[in-house]
Amino acid sequence: MNQVDPEVLDGVLEMLNELAGDWEYDGEITPDTRFLADLGLESLDIVVLGTLIQHRYGRLPFAEYLEELGQRPVEERDVTVAEVVAFVCENRQPSLEEV
């Protein structure tokens, strides 16, 4: 399991829960929730979600991440909230306060 910053996980979960009410999604969003199979997102949703996440956590290699996902077999392209958070935590640049 990758190192996951609980603050990032909480922040992403909070953002998704805020949005999910508009999608008529009734379930609880957890670290194990899958973006495509559970939330019914489309590829552009994930691209824009990447923009939002970068807006909040700084520049990330999101295009490379999406390209890597696109290379996987169709049945393995879905990702969980925890996997995206792990990607953010692994790749985010340290903030000035952290340097």
Binding site: M15, E18, L19, L44, V47, T51, H55, R59, A63
Partner: protein, 533 residues
């Protein structure tokens, strides 16, 4: 002076509007022309929604504002592209400049407004904003919930990427009718948002963008342009002609209502980001690059698409895995950019490709593109080719494609592999042209004046002037004095201001220049690979 109302009509062209005005389909726009000044409005390269609207709202060209396409290179030397966002606009806009000077704004459905800038007023972004995330795209916080309480408000109807993709890639005949109806409903929805906010959140600058014209003209050009309509339409074709007419009639009514709400003292500016015209051709540019020895498909990636008129609009990450990067020197990443990129590293190595080598390759590609003949009539396929330096002068040129091209029939590039380099669509489609529309009316603006072509970058200075603001001196556009009555500029003399420096969050591109001996080595390597004679 009253508010300034900017009504954007994506892709509108006088060659379509004038016949509709003459036939009484768009009576209000006809009145607006009679009451104001009109001109062709020349777009930028490429004449495409994100760069062109960004030019309109910044008064700058793409090399100055940094937006070239729906998707942006992450870095000048990267092969990865990402969704273009408001953070890619490297310039103040009419929204931010007005807001900084205590003018409230409403900005609805403009592209590149997500994440929303923190202006004084309201923003609902458009473009490729997915409806599922619209809540976070609305500014200020809480606005989305206020809109959701409106009767009939449906974010899925406001922003639907399916419509965009079908406009470019096509759809079955039996889906056309519903597709046109969806656009009528969508324009009505944006109007309802505008009406609500204009009443509840009065602003000095109100911008509303209607984008259905672009989409209808892409797919339904043969039902819209009188010169292209079938001489003896079938029942279905007649129905489609009437549906498209109904769309334009609705649009005219919505524009009329917006102008009425804005009030008699308002300045009204109706503008498009680019024009439109008929086309049949699709040029499979990556397959051409392969034949010329500049590109190699990765194993298993050179299979032709289902239809040779598909362009690969929504496949922005495709080229990354579809190409063999050890043997590729030039490629097109998106059909919309109308551009070819040259890699920044020597194929098969980590060595940077020097600027001289890049220019040599670009020059050779340009010559080869100009020499291509259309199979059906033997005439040149490509009307014009621009090197990056010529197409995009400005500090952000390195983020644009190395070459930009214009097909002779105004057609589309495809990034998909195909055995047919130049495919012809059986039916006439619409595609972008340079000449958009400009109509302005209001106090001090000449009535019934037809002036010479303006540039899309002239609109921002006009809007700033109407808001009583100084025009920054780094804008590419000018205040179009010819649209005013003689005494107007004496009453309200234009003011200039020093340009504000723009803070980059990202460092400028690294210099990839090589020493002369390194350049020679690179060119030698290219020759060995067969890329350069």
């Amino acid at each position: 002076m009253g508010p300034t109302l900017l009504i954007g009509v994506d892709g509108a062209t006088f060659s379509v509007l004038d016949p509709y005005i003459e036939r009484g389909v768009m009576p209000f726009v006809g009145d607006l022309v009679d009451r104001g000044a009109r001109a062709p409005l020349r777009s930028v390269m490429p004449p495409l929604t994100p760069p062109a609207w960004t030019s309109l709202v910044t008064g700058k060209r793409p090399g100055q504002h940094g937006v070239f396409d729906f998707f942006q290179k992450e870095q000048p030397d990267s092969i990865h592209f990402q969704f273009a966002s408001s953070q890619d606009v490297r310039s103040p806009t009419i929204w931010s400049l007005a807001s900084e000077h205590d003018r409230r704004v409403i900005s609805l459905n403009f592209p590149l407004m997500f994440p929303p800038p923190a202006v004084e007023g309201c923003v609902v972004p458009g473009g490729m904003m997915p409806w599922r995330q619209l809540r976070l795209g609305c500014h200020p916080p809480g606005l989305f919930d206020r809109l959701r309480a409106l009767p009939g408000f449906n974010p899925r109807e406001l922003l639907n990427m399916e419509l965009e993709i079908k406009a470019i890639e096509g759809c079955p005949d039996d889906e056309y009718a519903d597709w046109v109806e969806l656009h009528i409903a969508r324009e009505q929805s944006w109007f309802e948002v505008a009406r609500f906010l204009m009443h509840e959140e009065p602003a000095e600058l109100v911008g509303v963008l209607f984008d259905g014209v672009d989409k209808l003209q892409h797919l339904c050009w043969r039902f819209i342009d009188p010169a292209c309509r079938p001489a003896r339409p079938s029942r279905w074709e007649r129905e489609m002609i009437e549906r498209c007419e109904r769309y334009f009639r609705t649009l005219d009514r919505l524009i009329a209502e917006l102008v009425t709400i804005a009030g008699p003292t308002a300045t009204v500016v109706l503008a498009s980001d680019h024009g439109f015209g008929p086309t049949h051709e699709v040029f499979h540019v990556n397959s051409w690059l392969e034949r010329e020895g500049y590109l190699t498909w990765a194993d298993g990636q050179n299979g032709a698409a289902d239809r040779d008129t598909q362009v690969g609009f929504a496949e922005v990450t495709r080229h990354v895995h579809a190409l063999d990067w050890d043997r590729t020197l030039a490629y097109a990443a998106t059909p919309s950019s109308q551009g070819i990129n040259i890699v920044s590293r020597m194929p098969g190595s980590d060595r940077p490709l020097g600027e001289d080598a890049r220019r040599t390759i670009a020059s050779e590609l340009g010559d080869a593109l100009r020499a291509i003949k259309r199979p059906h009539d033997g005439r040149p396929l490509v009307a014009e080719v621009w090197a990056r330096e010529d197409a995009f002068p400005g500090p952000h040129a390195a983020l644009g494609p190395d070459l930009s091209l214009l097909l002779a029939d105004g057609g589309t590039l495809s990034i998909l592999p195909s055995d047919t380099l130049v495919a012809r669509r059986p039916e006439t489609r619409g595609h972008h042209r340079w000449e958009g529309i400009f109509i302005a009316s209001g106090s001090g603006i000449r009535e019934g004046a037809q002036v010479d072509e303006l540039s899309i970058v002239d609109v921002a200075p006009l809007i700033l002037h109407r808001l009583g603001l100084a025009v920054p001196d780094d804008l590419a556009g000018r205040l179009p004095a010819e649209i005013f009555e003689p005494e107007e500029l004496e009453r309200r003399p234009p003011r200039r201001s020093a340009a504000r420096s723009w803070t980059e969050s990202e460092p400028e591109p690294a210099d990839l220049e090589l020493e002369p001996d390194e350049q020679a080595a690179v060119l030698q390597r290219l020759r060995a690979l067969g890329y350069v004679e």
